[in-house]
Amino acid sequence: MTTTNDRPLAPPAPAGSRIVFAPKVSLADRYRRNARGRRIDNALRFGVPIGLLVIWQLAAMLDLFDRRFFPSPGDVVESLGTAIGTGVLQEAALVSTYRLVVGFVVGALVGLLMGFVLGRVRRLNVALDPIISALYTVPKLAMLPILLLIFGLSDLPILILIAASVFFIVVISTTAAVTAVQKNYLEPAQCFGATGLQTLRHVVLPASLPSVFVSLRLAAGNAVLVLIGIEFVQGGAGMGYLIWNSWQLFDVGRMYVGVVLVAVFGVLFQTLITGLGRLATPWTRRGGSASSH
């Protein structure tokens, strides 16, 4: 953040005096100051989380709080080692990743497809919008017992729920993005005689991609929430189960391992989708040129 003037305004000069606007800082100093500013930003970005961990560790070592409830970072790392050693963690991570990826991909694909159709066929949107709005508001977890009743105690109800949570976010934002494609992009397509499919490919799809990827990222975060929620109550495996099971066994260290890993997992998943989005929309990158082909 740079302000236009970094000093408070001087009191008004008396009439008849000459007011001079001249550099207050030399160019070299200005450059040095900006470079220092960037170093400070980076130090804050990495230093604050690390500093917090160090304070936490020190506080634990000084017995400032009950280590049974608040294990130190060292204890958590130790639990991580144990969990990896026994193979519990890998198994849980694998199961959760599988559920998340399958549910997300299915929900996202169906949501995208339907979003584009609803966005382009106005009448269909008019007909289905109230239903989608109503179903979207139903908490997905509330549907779990019904799905368990129908499909039994398998992975299928879990996958369906994750896919549903992704689907609604994606379909609603995609429909909105498609209907919001500006007329000044659609008119040239119409003018040059583009067919419906060509308009979709050359205009509607790329025009809505940036907001579609925002919705995919939101849906990814939400899918992790839903997944952990489901695994708490049902599933017998996965990261959510690991956390819940650790609580039941009063293995506090492993509980923290689970929570931290779920957070890391969520960040990685969202970063992956943001990265895919950047690849898919090269024109939104600042100063980005098309790679030669």
């Binding site: 992009y185 119409q190 003018c191 067919t195 040129s289 098309a290």
Partner: protein, 292 residues
């Protein structure tokens, strides 16, 4: 493109070349507004000769753009008709939009190729044509750039190349230089002048700028305020090929002045300005409804 197809069927290219390219008879367009039906255009009668560069000037909201959109097949008229004599088999018209309307997600080259890729499908010489127009408009060095990396003048060149690459029978231009600064605008006018004198085709060019209309046009049409109809018509007598030097001549200034006098009295109703009408009380019926 229902409207274009209808236009095609009116005359399957058997007419002599002396016939007007575009014949407009009693053309009208109405729009639905919250306050009822609003007539934006017409009745309008006009003939555009084959190969003519026709400029249309008029006040804002007089229906100039509506007329152009009807000609492009983007809008259907609500009354009267517009007939176009078809000569070739290629695209009937292409349009250069005021706000460029080039696609930010396509590179310069992809933008120019767009008109060839959609519709009838790419012709065999598509690559050559794209290359030619990129060169002709000085875009070759930027072919892999995205529009966001280009200046306003460059973007408008892309828009012009995109329209010309399909070799339309009619080129429609909707205030193409309105968003450019005054100097760039003059440069682009000079470029378009040279371009058109090299590749003659029927052009309908809409502008606010009288100087631009007189420099470029064979004929200048003045339209009234809404609902727009024709209130003045001026043949531009200067011989072709013209150059930008024309701007400095006395005849040029005189013609511009004459058109302005017509536009001011007929279109802007200068007489009204002397005795201003009683201020109208805006009627608001909804929370966010615009008062008219």
């Amino acid at each position: 493109m229902a409207a274009l197809d209808e236009l095609d069927e009116i005359d399957p290219g058997t007419t002599a070349r002396t016939d007007p390219k575009i014949t407009v008879k009693g053309l009208e367009r109405h729009f639905e507004t919250p306050d009822g039906l609003l007539q934006a255009l017409g009745p309008m009668d006009l003939e555009v000769r084959d190969g003519e560069f026709l400029c249309i000037v008029g006040p804002s909201g007089c229906g100039k753009s509506t007329f152009l959109r009807i000609a492009a097949g983007l809008l259907d008229p609500t009354g009267g008709e517009m007939a176009v004599n078809r000569q070739g088999t290629g695209p009937l018209s292409a349009m250069v939009f005021q706000d460029y309307s080039i696609f930010p997600w396509k590179t310069v080259e992809q933008n120019v190729r767009f008109g060839l890729e959609v519709g009838a499908g790419a012709p065999a010489d598509a690559e050559e044509r794209v290359g030619y127009w990129l060169d002709r408009l000085g875009l070759a060095a930027f072919r892999r750039s995205y529009p966001s990396e280009l200046s306003g003048g460059m973007r408008q060149r892309v828009s012009i190349a995109r329209a010309l690459v399909v070799e339309p029978e009619i080129l429609l231009m909707d205030e193409p230089f309105a968003a450019l600064d005054a100097q760039l605008r003059m440069l682009m006018q000079d470029e378009l002048l040279a371009l058109w004198q090299e590749h003659r085709r029927t052009v309908v060019f809409i502008t606010h700028n009288l100087d631009e209309a007189v420099l470029l046009g064979d004929r200048v049409i003045v339209m009234s305020k809404r609902p727009g109809h024709i209130v003045g018509e001026f043949e531009v007598p200067f011989t072709r090929p013209r150059t930008a030097d024309l701007r400095g001549s006395g005849e040029f200034a005189a013609l511009e002045q004459e058109i302005w006098a017509n536009l001011r009295s007929e279109a802007y109703g200068a007489a009204d300005a002397v005795t201003p009408a009683a201020p109208t009380v805006p009627t608001r019926r909804g929370l966010f409804r615009r008062a008219r």
